[in-house]
Amino acid sequence: MLATLHDALSLLGHFDHRLLDIVGLSLRVSLSALVIGALVGLPFGAWLAVADFPGRGAVIVALNALMGLPSVVIGVLVYLALSRSGPLGSYGLLFSPSAMILAQSMLVVPLIAAVSRQIVEDAWKEYAPEFSIIGIRRPQAVLLLLADCRFSLSVATLAGLGRAMSEVGAVMIVGGNIDGYTRVMTTAIALETSKGDLALSIALGMVLMSIILGLNVAAHYLRCWAVRRYG
């Protein structure tokens, strides 16, 4: 056990190129998914917070349910869409980083949208009377609320990055876990552990844990700073 740990630390200490490639691809895929998730999820969540239409409650329930959707289900859906006979088969994206970004985006969008909907709706309840009297229309209100809630929303966005980075099922299905091409930290950990190469698994696990921990520390301090600076 200690020898395995020593080997894992050695891989990290020597900046093993295989390990760095896997970490780099993981970050590229998850950050891309996060950007898509934020661009879609934040405005959609904010719009849903202030919108008033029949069936809004059902949309909110569905969105909340999608937050807990198993990633393998997303993986299968994206696989079917990207497979040769699927509607997006002609693009040839299956078993590529793009497919993994698509799958992770589908996981991240509902999470960011649902959390931002709750955050913005709480603010909307407080602000709606004054916005109404001032004559702020709903599209303007969405922009103002997104700006006003920016710090809480950035924490929600970081939660989305955490979900994307720790996900394994969907990227395994649509990426194929191809060495040097679609192998990310989580799929590499699963594979190397099954092969008995625990040193690489532990090294990747340490990197993954550090990133997740770092994100949470960043979210905590961002929130504290924002409260001190902006009230």
């Binding site: 407080e126 602000y127 009377p129 004054e130 109404s132 009297i133 001032i134 004559g135 702020i136 229309r137 303007q140 103002l144 700006a147 006003d148 809630c149 920016r150 710090f151 924002a226 600076r229 902006y230 009230g231």
Partner: protein, 239 residues
């Protein structure tokens, strides 16, 4: 927009009657202060006038129109302040109006100067003190150049000097031609500010009179009891 004519106004959510057959006529000048015990419907009346709630019965006529044709602004007891600068909290309220950025900036700077917050224009609004927050809310309302300004207990929980600053601003807004309709529990403030008093109790206007006459010779038994510090409403509750 004026006279503002309210007839038979009723608001009774879930069978709980708050306003019942309220009649009131207001001219377009001066400061009218609404007095009354807690639960009399003072804030509710302001919210109904602001269009934030629909009445269950009765009518509100602005001149001959069903909707106000002039600008209306309202300052709440706990004003809403965005997590932005003091300046931005005024400027955003002017965006729905047909003004360019330079005009918005000039008017925002002007009102901030007049309420004594120009030196804090770049500070975050949420870090202001209670009195400064209320002055900022008044500045925002003032910048909208309202024809009718609704104030819901704007000095509740403020200290005497902050209260005095708010009262000075309210007088200035009145002098510029806005009609001010305000609720308060502070009888001293009502004496200092009011041109006329609307005394609300048991869901309707019990008395509407010039301020001097109201305080010297209240006509209704409810107003007399209120001014003498009697608590008939609490007695009724205790029974």
């Amino acid at each position: 927009m004026f006279p503002l004519s309210i007839k038979g106004l009723r608001f009774a959510p879930e069978q709980r009657v708050v306003l019942d057959g309220l009649d009131l006529e207001l001219s377009g000048e001066g400061i009218s202060i609404i007095l009354g015990p807690n639960g009399a419907g003072k804030t509710l009346l302001l919210r109904l006038l602001a269009g934030l709630l629909p009445p269950h019965a009765g009518s509100i006529l602005w001149g001959a129109a069903a909707l106000p044709d002039g600008r209306l602004a309202m300052v709440f007891q706990q004003p809403m302040l965005l997590r932005m600068s003091v300046f931005a909290n005024v400027e955003f309220a002017l965006r729905p109006q047909a003004m360019n950025a330079a005009e918005r900036r000039a008017r925002s700077d002007n009102v901030l100067e007049r309420v004594g917050l120009a030196h804090r224009a770049k500070d975050c609004a949420r870090l202001l003190s209670g009195g400064e927050r209320q002055r900022l809310a008044l500045a925002r309302a003032w910048a909208m150049q309202p024809r009718l300004l609704l104030l819901d207990e704007p000095t509740a929980s403020l200290d005497p000097s902050a209260t005095e600053a708010v009262e000075r601003i309210v007088r200035e807004i009145r002098t510029e031609g806005a009609k001010v309709l305000m609720t308060t529990h502070n009888l001293g403030q009502a004496t200092r500010l009011a041109d006329d008093i609307i005394f609300l109790a048991e869901g309707r206007v019990q008395e509407h009179a010039a301020a001097q006459r109201f305080f010297a010779h209240p006509q209704s038994p409810a107003a007399r009891a209120f001014l003498q510090g009697e608590l008939p409403w609490r007695i009724a509750f205790d029974r």
